[in-house]
Structure formats: structure tokens, C-alpha cells
């Protein structure tokens, strides 16, 4: 199948040399949801050498509208996403070495998986994992590509250690509430637009065309017909604890992460978010209510019915997930709503 990659070898930005580089590289994909599906498929079709992909969730019916690796059969078999992704990716390109991991991408796991890879692609749905990716990227000098989407809106930014600012320079803290696909909805074109940007940047990094890297933070809205590029030359923060002069990689620290505990005999998991702060219960209630979730509350807490589970969330961001004993699943449920 030498013919197989002929059309991308014809593209002057890749060429024969670039194709050989792509074939020798190892990419780590964090998440196998919408962005993970699309980014993984593009890289595998392009003939990447090795792909490691990690995801903690199962394929559900509500995923099919935008997660391109999955079919109705995967839903009825309740396959873990990582396993279903591996199956499809192998049918697409049997030459690529694929390692699929069913599990939570916590900082220890991330550090272990990242070692020796050439690029990390962000396909997660929460900022806690992104901040850990960001620290791992700085610690091991591995580029990573931020991407996210909600509704018809999305954004992307490429982070090259030692060259660009990092995500911690921009955010300085983990946003306590961010719009997610479960609270703001999502349409597939916005997913694909975020993927287009992430995968184009991935190709540039894999073929080592550093001059071509997009230096701006891009943000778009396909329904409102908007496209903005924000220059980032002044964004680097010397005091940044992730990429500054004296880095401590704070998001690899056990203190700075969501804690999950099973509450004995109660079929309930308690979630303590990594950042302390005040959640606006009123706003969250309004949002969840307008989305059709059944919400009850008082000034101290909110209770939301989420199908199988019920989530009770307190003003400080702490939550109880009733109806499960699975720590990873409970964290996933929490982060899908809270971001």
C-alpha cells in the first residue's frame, strides 16, 4: 500500500520526508469521545507510527450523534470507548500500532503514558485533566494541543514547551464551572472544526515544520459565523508554576486534584473538586432546569436527576453521586456537568 498515502505526500507541506516522519512518531490521545474519535481517526488514516488512546467511559446512545468511531452495535454491546475505538481504528489501518487503555487519565497515569511520546492531543472534557496534561507537557518537554467545543462554538491552541505560553499562563487556575456538551449541547460541525485545527497542528508537529505552527489562540462559532485569532505573544507569564522560571508542576500534585471516596453502604461516591470556590447554585439550577433535567434545591445544595444517577452538589463544589460505587464513573458524571 505505498499508494495509500500518495495524496498527502503530494501536499508540499508533507512530502516523502514528512510521511516518513509521521510513520515514526508516537501520539498520546487523552480521551476517545468526540474530539478523540476524530483526531485519532485522522492520525491513523495518515499512517502515524503508534497511537496510545485512553478513555474511562462506555459508548452510549447519546454519543453516536458526534463520535465518529462508534456504531449502534457498540452501544448495544456497551463497549468501553477505548475498546470500540481500537476495533474501528484497526479496520481503518492495520499498520498502525494502537494501544487502547480503559481507565482514568489521572496525573500518575498521564506521566507514565506520556514518556517517550512525541505529541499529546487533548480530547478530554474537563480542565482538571487539561491542567495535568499541561504540566506533564512542560515536565517532559512534549508539545500538546488544546481543543474544546460546546454548542456551535469551539477553540484550539498549540502549546510548545519553551516556545509558547502554556495553558496555566492563560487560565492561572482551573475554571470551576465550564460549559460542557452535557450542559450546552453540541453539534457535530463544531466538533469537526476543532478537530481540523488540532489535527492540522498535529501534522505540523509530526513533520517538524515549526514555522508553520499557528501562534494564535483560535476561537470560532459556526452558527454565528465568527472566527477570531488572538495573538499570544504577551501571554507568557514569568511566574507561571507550570512553565515559568521555577516550575513546580502544581497539577501533578496530589493536593490539587479531584478526590473521590466511596461512602460505605450507601451506593454513593463523594467528589471533592481540586479547586475550592463558590459554585453559583442558582445559575447552575437555572441552566440544568432549562436543559430539561429535574432539579430540586435549597440555598445550600442542588439535587439533579441524571438518568441512573442522582447528583447532589453543594455550594463549595463538593458533590455526592448517588447510584454508583464506581469512582471513575462518578468522576466522569461530575465532570460532564461541571466541566
Amino acid at each position: 500500500m505505498a499508494e495509500r498515502y500518495s495524496r498527502q505526500i503530494l501536499f508540499p507541506g508533507i512530502g516523502k520526508e514528512g510521511q516518513a516522519k509521521i510513520g515514526s512518531k508516537h501520539v498520546l490521545m487523552i480521551g476517545a469521545g468526540a474530539l478523540g474519535s476524530g483526531n485519532a481517526e485522522i492520525l491513523v488514516r495518515a499512517g502515524i507510527g503508534r497511537l496510545t488512546i485512553i478513555d474511562r467511559d462506555y459508548v452510549e446512545a447519546s454519543n453516536l450523534q458526534r463520535q465518529q468511531l462508534y456504531t449502534e452495535e457498540d452501544v448495544s454491546e456497551k463497549l468501553p470507548k477505548a475498546a470500540a475505538a481500537e476495533k474501528r481504528l484497526k479496520a481503518i489501518n492495520s499498520d498502525v500500532e494502537i494501544r487502547a487503555i480503559i481507565g482514568d487519565a489521572n496525573p500518575e497515569v498521564l506521566e507514565e503514558l506520556a514518556k517517550g511520546t512525541d505529541l499529546i492531543i487533548d480530547a478530554t472534557d474537563n480542565f482538571e485533566t487539561r491542567m495535568a496534561i499541561n504540566d506533564v507537557s512542560q515536565k517532559y518537554r512534549i508539545p500538546w494541543i488544546y481543543g474544546a467545543c460546546v454548542g456551535s462554538h469551539g477553540m484550539s491552541f498549540t502549546i510548545i514547551p519553551g516556545v509558547t505560553p502554556c495553558l496555566n499562563c492563560l487560565l492561572r487556575t482551573i475554571p470551576l464551572q465550564g460549559l460542557t456538551c452535557d450542559t450546552g449541547g453540541i453539534i457535530a460541525p463544531a466538533v469537526q472544526m476543532a478537530i481540523s485545527h488540532q489535527s492540522a497542528e498535529a501534522f505540523k508537529i509530526l513533520v517538524e515544520d515549526w514555522d508553520a505552527i499557528r501562534a494564535t489562540f483560535v476561537s470560532f462559532d459556526l452558527w454565528r459565523n465568527e472566527y477570531t485569532s488572538m495573538k499570544m505573544s504577551k501571554a507568557k507569564f514569568a511566574g507561571c508554576l507550570s512553565c515559568g522560571e521555577e516550575p513546580t508542576y502544581p497539577y501533578l500534585d496530589k493536593e490539587n486534584r479531584t478526590k473521590t471516596t466511596i461512602l460505605c453502604g450507601r451506593d454513593t461516591v463523594q467528589i471533592r473538586p481540586s479547586v475550592q470556590g463558590e459554585v453559583s447554585l442558582e445559575q447552575l439550577a437555572g441552566q440544568l432546569d432549562s436543559l430539561g433535567y429535574s432539579v430540586k434545591g435549597n440555598p445550600y445544595l442542588l439535587s439533579v436527576e441524571l438518568g441512573v444517577e442522582r447528583m447532589v452538589i453543594f455550594k463549595d463544589g463538593r458533590a455526592l453521586i448517588h447510584g454508583t460505587k464506581d469512582l471513575t464513573h462518578a468522576k466522569s458524571v461530575y465532570q460532564r456537568i461541571m466541566g
Binding site: F127, M155, L171, S219
Partner: protein
């Protein structure tokens, strides 16, 4: 005067695409706090700001004529 543009769900929250305010001399952080109160905007502390299409921290001082954009970071994926 200064044009202030809202992106994504901030626009829904504010109810408008953009507004014109006199923000010269204020810092980005001060403008955020002011607008958060006036328009009841959620979580302005984690919203990114750009002045004339260039990323800006909360400490940056706004000058006459600067165009400010507020872009909330998005989490979905």
C-alpha cells in the same frame, strides 16, 4: 470609548454581541468585575480577555479606543 465584545455563552448571558463603554484607565480585571455585576455574568474570573486581538492579563490597563474581547474557555470535547 471602548468596544467590548462577548463570545459564546457570555453573549447569551449578556443578551448582546457587544457594548460600548468608557473603560480607558481601568484594568481588564476591573472591567470584568464591573461587567460581571452590571450584566450578571457568570464566572468572569476564568474568562480570557483580548485587547485589540492580543491576549491580555487582568493587570493590563485599557486605553482609549482599545477593542476588548471576552472569550470564555470551553470544556467540552
Amino acid at each position: 470609548m471602548n468596544k467590548v465584545m462577548f463570545f459564546a455563552h457570555l453573549r447569551d448571558a449578556a443578551g448582546v454581541d457587544s457594548i460600548t463603554v468608557d473603560a480607558a484607565g481601568k484594568t481588564v480585571g476591573e472591567l470584568k468585575a464591573e461587567l460581571a455585576e452590571k450584566y450578571n455574568l457568570p464566572k468572569m474570573d476564568s474568562v480570557m480577555a483580548a485587547i485589540n486581538e492580543e491576549f491580555s492579563s487582568n493587570d493590563e490597563t485599557i486605553r482609549e479606543g482599545d477593542v476588548i474581547a471576552f472569550i470564555p474557555p470551553v470544556s467540552g470535547g
